[in-house]
Amino acid sequence: MGEEKKSVLRVHSYAELAHRREESGGLYQPDAAEEQPIIRLDLVENILNLCRANSLWPMTFGLACCAIEMMCLGMARFDMSRYGAEVFRPSPRQCDLMIVAGTVNRKMAPALITLYEQMAAPKWVIAMGNCAISGGPFAVRENYNVVEGVDRLIPVDVHVPGCPPRPEGLLEGILKLQEKMTGTRYPFPQFKPPR
């Protein structure tokens, strides 16, 4: 194989990092300092967060089975655009929500970290499905390839269990994320349903 092609093949500069994080076994904790804004204006932050929560741009990041349920959520019956999160973008630069929908394996892990690092802050991650949470049915004794939980690689905000979760489950995950961002369950302009 030509040397030039080899260097193209090796686009994932995060391979070592990914394996180190995976083998450490614990949850990946980002540096607290890099998360904090330099100047903090509470009121402005709150208003911005309200806007962010109601216009999440998820990335089309389908890895396996869960991707199909994620697609279903975008389609007519479940229609996640009701909650302002229907603009799926393939480019990480334009997204602020990564829905890890499926199994991450050791070959994919460096690419996952690359994509996460490429997203502009503030950014959030939903681990959708048992595979992304803990390896699911692939966390077996003979496991040689599957990363047991995506939170070993990147920080995760919301976990949505299921194999795969129903679209309603993912919808609930998105509402939970909105709650985490704004502090209230029904951010403006959604109101509590009538009793």
Binding site: G2, L9, E69, P92
Partner: protein
């Protein structure tokens, strides 16, 4: 194949497509050597969805592996169920009751339609047509409703058992399925108006990515890709399993093997599947849906093979047993693996935008290829 030898006298460059790309349908990566807009050499890089299915198949008892079969190809999960229970039944000599076989055929064909509907939407989405996927998903949800009622899950079914099916169907299922057949039949003219006769669509897919029978034989391609070249090879007909010989259905074939033919073959296959379901519902026999199977069933020593026609082509399970209830070796032969391996030959000297068409026509499910 002349991989990795960069053409010195042409001005070429490398382009990396994937593993996260909307039109690769998952985590496929294609490394392209390009000259301008033209592809000199595409090389698929796979393994981003490798989930050790064969290794797990060798470490669990055959019974415990059942749920995993649905996760190999989640779009045609019931066909993967069918192949696996068929294999075990063939080895141990257990026969499922006729009612169970009929239920298997009905649900498998429903699953095939669901898979083809998703393909139809996604293929057109790759083209840039966003509207059709909304319609196809609408139809697909109807199937998922029917299947959810009997199997208990929306996507990764584990419904078939060795010796039958886990749950009997009732009148609601039969009525619901009949209503769905009527509904989908009335939708086909709409799809024709919307897509098949659309001039933009025809210009994008006509004469693009032509498969040939010789190429199919060299690569072992099966499924709609193969049938689009004019070879009517379908495991349901050529190597019949279950109760498929009892039904009257056609094998749609194409003539030229281009993307348009692949599209037409798949759409007509949905119509044929509806015919099979209708006949099966009409003659659904009464009786039990499960036979008695010993709890700890040992597989006889030896090796056996079982093939079914999955939505994307021939699915073969090959099991080597040492006489215990854990398979000694389980080889899963997914159809897309061989179908994708002909991509370099198919897409040489093609426009980049046409590569997306070719990938779409192959109907890839990456975890199925990587297993």
């Amino acid at each position: 194949m002349t991989l990795g030898t960069k053409n010195q006298d042409r001005h070429s460059f490398y382009l990396n497509m994937g593993p996260q790309h909307p039109s690769t349908h998952g985590v496929l990566r294609v490394l392209l050597e390009m000259e301008g807009e033209y592809i000199l050499e595409p090389e698929p890089v796979i393994g981003y969805g490798h989930r050790m299915q064969e290794k797990i198949g060798e470490s669990l008892t055959w019974n415990a592996f059942m749920p995993n079969t649905a996760r190999i190809d989640y779009l045609s999960a019931l066909m993967y169920n069918h192949g696996y229970v068929g294999l075990i039944e063939r080895m141990t000599g257990i026969e499922a009751p006729r009612r169970a076989e009929y239920i298997r055929v009905i649900t498998s064909e429903l699953n095939r339609i669901a898979s083809h509907l998703l393909w139809l939407g996604a293929f057109l989405l790759d083209l840039g047509a966003f509207t059709p996927i909304m319609y196809t998903f609408d139809d697909r949800e109807q199937i998922l409703d029917i299947l959810e009622d009997v199997t208990g899950s929306r996507l990764t079914y584990c419904y078939y058992r060795v010796g039958g099916v886990s749950r009997d169907v009732d009148g609601t299922f039969v009525e619901g399925t009949r209503a769905f057949i009527r509904r989908l039949r009335s939708r086909f003219p709409m799809y024709d108006d919307l897509v098949t006769n659309n001039i933009i669509f025809i210009k994008r897919v006509k004469d693009i990515a032509q498969f040939t029978p010789d190429m199919a034989m060299r690569y072992g391609a099966t499924g709609p890709i193969l049938r689009s070249t004019g070879i009517g090879y379908d495991i349901r007909r050529n190597e019949p399993y279950s109760v498929y010989p009892e039904f009257d259905f056609d094998i749609p074939v194409g003539t030229t093997g281009d993307c348009m033919d692949v599209y037409l073959v798949r759409v007509r296959e949905m119509e044929q599947s509806l015919r099979i379901i209708e006949q099966a519902l009409d003659s659904l026999p009464e009786g039990p849906c499960m036979t008695k199977v010993p709890r700890r069933l040992k597989l006889p020593q030896g090796d056996a093979s079982f093939s079914v026609e999955a939505a994307r082509g021939e699915l073969s399970y090959y099991l080597v047993s040492d006489g215990s209830d854990v398979p000694y070796r389980l080889k899963i032969r997914p159809p897309s693996f061989s179908n994708l391996s002909l991509l370099p030959e198919l897409c040489r000297n093609m426009l980049l935008s046409d590569l997306v068409m070719a990938l779409g026509a192959l109907d890839l499910v990456i975890p199925e290829i990587d297993r």
